[in-house]
Every structure is written in C-alpha cells, then in structure tokens.
C-alpha cells in the first residue's frame, strides 16, 4: 500500500440487526453501511455528505472502531484493525480521535475541564505524571483559543462554541494523526460555526492532520474539505476533489443536494426537488438505490447497482447514465 494512505476501507459493511418476536430472531438488518470502499490520504480532509439516514455518521463511528463492522476491512496506516479486540485497538486509539456533534453531551458535566482533557492521557500515556498531563492540557487548550486557567472549571460554565473548542482540545491531546469530526459545527450558531471552522482549518495545517469531516452542510464542506464523498443509503455515490464536485457534479443525487443549498440569487423553481423520503435501509430499492427519487432514472436502473466508475481525475460516480450533463448550481 502506498505510504501516503492514512486509512482505507474495503467493502466495509455495517448492518444493525432488527430483532423480532420473543426469541429475538434476527429478522432483517438495517444496512447502514453497504459496501464502502474509500481511501483517505495522509494530510487530507475528506468531507462526507449525505442526508439524515445515509449512514455518514455510522461510517465515521465505524472507522473509529466504536463497534466492529459486520464485514469488510479497515486498514489504518498499514494495519488491518477491523477485527481487533479492544485490547489490541488501544494503541491505535491514541492515533485516532473523534470530535462530536453536540457540545453539551460530549463533555462530562461532573468532570472539570482539566480532568476531561487529561482523561485520554491517563490511558494512552500512563507514564506521564499528573503535572505533565496538566501542562499538556494547558498547551492544547491554548491551541484551541481558550485560556489555560479554565482547567478547574466545569462544562456548564461555557458556551456551546467554547465547549466545542474544549472537545477539539480533548481530541488533540494525544497528538492523533487522524480525526473524525462528526457534524462538528452543526450544533453551533452560524457566527460561532465560522470561528470553529477556521480553528479546525488552522489546526489541521499546523498539526498536519488527516480528517474525515462528516456533515450535511455543503457550504461547510466546501470551506474545509479537499475532497468530498457523497453518501446515499449506505453507499458512496460520488467522490471528487471539492472544486470539481461543486462545479461539475456527475451524480444526480449530488446535483439535487447542491441545488438545495440556499443562495441569494437562486429562485425557487431552479431547485431540484427530490420526491419522497430516503427509502428504508432495511429494504433498499433494487439496482441503483437512488432510482426511486432520481429525475433521470430509466427502467434499466432497477436491474443492477451501478459501480463507482472513473469520471475524471480523482472523480468517481456510481450512476448508470454517465452521459448526463448535470447542472452545477453552485458557483464557487
């Protein structure tokens, strides 16, 4: 494997069983991840977008090995970790960390900021003395733009934006190489969102971080990501460098997502309205999963699932109609 790959998944699947009856038979499964093959290069920020229920958060959590995948592989650096026990995973936990969506749930309300920040070090650097841990905490808390004397305070004393900074500091304290940011700015006010996004951009360059940035907000992803992957019903439908995806989408779903971003110029009739809800991931449609809502669907789309094919340099899309000329509703 090339040395510049940080993390790679091969045909990754995560199914959640739906149990039925008193015997708890596994009747069906929610296919949250249905065969994801994806590479994140060292030092890049990959944006992951999709609507609710597309499986994007599950992908982030599964990469973190919060729970083992149902099948498929996760290769971190050059180690296949998807079958590792918690004990084997422990040294990898230092190298990959997570930033959470809800700043009110991600910090223990009964623990001081200092204790929350130094917690990862207790387990990842057991030789470190308590005062060395606190020094390190003071150092990272200053990196995220808060002052070092807040370590004795409790989370309730801080605003959402400040808490999110504390959460970022906790993720940074073990000097990780890879970070999953799961909707890291979605819960914040727009003005605070911009500040936190700038902070993440700054940190990412300073620490040469690799990041998976999960969000439903295309504007946010355009701001921070180098490449973007679009997910629909547990599958990746398009991957491309950010600018390329925004100017020349090659999947009808991407086009529809982008047309939904509000801009001052656009009028309502220019939007592509997707009809209905996202289908149930328990029984996804045959063939192309998007065909039920696709304005360009042909009968043949029901027959087979389209593979993720090359559409340009680093540009892949999974669509049976590569000839389509799709609009680029966002001028970046």
């Amino acid at each position: 494997m090339p040395a510049d790959v940080m993390i790679e998944t091969v045909a990754l699947k995560k199914h959640f069983p739906v149990r039925k009856g008193i015997l708890q038979r596994e009747a069906k499964a929610v296919r949250a991840l249905d065969g994801i093959s994806l590479t994140i290069r060292r030092g890049e920020v990959l944006g992951l977008v999709g609507e609710s229920g597309s499986g994007k958060s599950t992908l982030g959590k599964t990469l973190m090995m919060q729970e083992p995948p149902t099948s498929g592989q996760i290769v971190f650096g050059d180690t296949e970790i998807s079958r590792f026990s918690e004990r084997l995973l422990k040294p990898f936990r230092r190298r990959m960390q997570m930033i959470f969506q809800d700043p009110f749930s991600s910090l223990n309300p009964r623990m001081s900021v200092g204790d929350s920040l130094t917690m990862p070090l207790r387990f990842q650097a057991p030789d470190m003395s308590a005062s060395a841990r606190l020094d390190k905490a003071r150092q990272v808390i200053e990196t995220v733009g808060l002052s070092g004397d807040i370590l004795e305070r409790f989370p309730h004393e801080f605003s959402g934006g400040q808490r999110q900074r504390i959460g970022i500091a906790r993720a940074l304290i073990t000097d990780p190489e890879f970070i999953v940011a799961d909707e890291a700015v979605s819960a914040l006010d727009v003005s605070v969102q911009a500040q936190v996004l700038n902070l993440l951009t700054e940190i990412r360059h300073r620490w040469q971080l690799t990041m998976l940035f999960v969000t439903h907000d295309l504007a946010v992803v355009g701001h921070i990501a180098d490449r973007v992957a679009v997910m629909y019903l547990g599958k990746i439908v398009e991957v491309a460098p950010t600018r390329e995806l925004f100017t020349r989408p090659r999947h009808p779903y991407t086009e529809a997502l982008m047309s939904a971003v509000p801009t001052p110029e656009r009028r309502a009739h220019q939007r592509i309205m997707l009809e209905g809800d996202i289908p149930s991931p328990i029984s996804p449609p045959s063939g192309c999963a998007f065909r039920t809502r696709c304005p360009y669907a042909k009968p043949a789309c029901a027959d087979s699932a389209p593979p993720l094919d090359v559409r340009g340099t680093g540009h892949y899309a999974a669509c049976h109609r590569p000839e389509l000329e799709l609009a680029s509703p966002i001028a970046t």
Partner: protein, 296 residues
Amino acid sequence: MTTMTAAGDAAHTRHHWWQHRTLSRFLRHRLAATGLAIILMLTLACLLGPHLLPYDELTVDLRARFSPPLTQDHYLGTDPLGRDIAARLLMAGRISLLVGFSVMLISTVFGTLIGVVAGYFRGWVGSVLMRIVDAFLAFPSIFLVLVLSAFVEPSPFMITVIIALTCWMEIARIVEAEILSLRERDFTIAARLSGASARWIMFRELVPNAMGPIIVAATLTIANAILLEAYISFLGYGIQPPLPSWGNMLNSAQQYLADAPWLAIVPGITITLAVSSFNFIGDGLRDALDSRSNLP
C-alpha cells in the same frame, strides 16, 4: 481570533453547579425544608437529649409506673415499669435512626454496584444480575425480613444487614436504567474511544452523573428502613428489650392501649414524623435534582 472567547460570556461564575441552584430549589420546597428541619432536630435530640434528661432509659421506678405525660420531670410520662419514656424514646431514636442510615449506606453502595455493572456490561452479565434483582423483588419484603430474622440473633447489626438485604433492589434498578442511557452519551463514547478502562468509565463517567436519582432513592430508603425496623421490632423479631427501639416501644404499649394511650402515641407520632420527613426530603430532592429542569 480566538482569545476573546475565553474571557467571554459564561466564564465569570466560579462555583459547583449544585452549590446554590439545587439548594435554593430544595429549600423552596416547603415540605422538604420542614422535613429536613424535623430530621435535624430529631437527630440532635437523640444525640444530646439523653445526657440532659434526669433519667436514664433503663432506670426502673415502680412507684412512678404509668405516670401520664408531664408528671413532675417525666415529660412524656413513664411506662409499666416506671421507666422514663422521653429517655427511652431518644435512646430508641439513636438505634432506629442509626439502623435507617446504615441500611441506606449498605443498600445504596450495593445497589449502585449491581446497577452500574449490569448497565455498563449489559448482555448476559446484565441479564443475570437484573433477574437476581427481580427474584429479590418478588418476595414481599416484610416476610423476607421476618423469615431471615427468625434465623439469626436479632442484634442491631444483624437487623441492619437483614433490612439492607431487602432494600437494595430499587436502587439497583434505578441505577441500571440511568446507566443504560448515560453509556450512550458522547462523553462516555469519548472515554471509550480513548481506551479508558471499564472502571474509569463506570465510576468516573457514569456514576457521578447518576448521583441525582441515587440520592433521592437513598433518602427514601432511610424512610423505608425505619419503617421496616419498626415493623419487625413491633412483631417482636427486631431489637430486643430492654434495648429500646421505636418499634418495640409500640409492641409493649399494645396491652395498655386503653389505660395508658401515651405509651403508643408517643413512639407512633415519632415514627410518623421521621418517616414522612424523609419521604418529603426525598420528594424535594427529586424536584431539586431533576436533570430535566436542570438543562442549561
């Protein structure tokens, strides 16, 4: 761009969140505040009272038997052996309150342990533990206590252990339910993703956040324990005379109910006061510690 946010909005208050908000909310609950005052006075009286009274709880004075309350310096009267009821009541209070608090401590610690282990590990460990809890709950506690006390020497210590054996299940269930929801919160996941040990997650991340319901349940357990001790002592299986307890004072009052009603009324009122005070305190704590009304 960033240092300004540190000094910003929320950062000027420096206190534990419970230090005034919960306390003032608790004190605004009238019954709970009254209950707390009654318990404090009762405890103080039981600790100091016996030293201030002219009689000791075991002094027999047959000339003064059946004195009604306020006869000379027998403020609450005397019993069939002429022992001072005030002195006996306060000494009995020491035992009854001590049993109540000890039961609370034992059953809270034990119930919390069972609940947190069951809630954290879930799966078969959780199922087995919670089915044991259900099995204990399936016995009516008064019969369980009576059966157990028939087999052992009824010293205050053994009575405490026996009552504690029937009081921990409620706390285990409350804690388990609380832990099941807390373990899915992001801060717990963050700890797990940092390689934190099970012990750290259980006792540093989860239990401190379940303290509210635990404290409420613990308070109600004291009330329950005092009542149970009174039951079994009343039935004669509990604290044995001449050692006084509120329950056995009631027991010896039975046959003189018509002639010397104060023998039953005095300990009866005291039990009622203590038990309902603890229940009101529990209610007040429940309202004051309610996490839903505590959201920022």
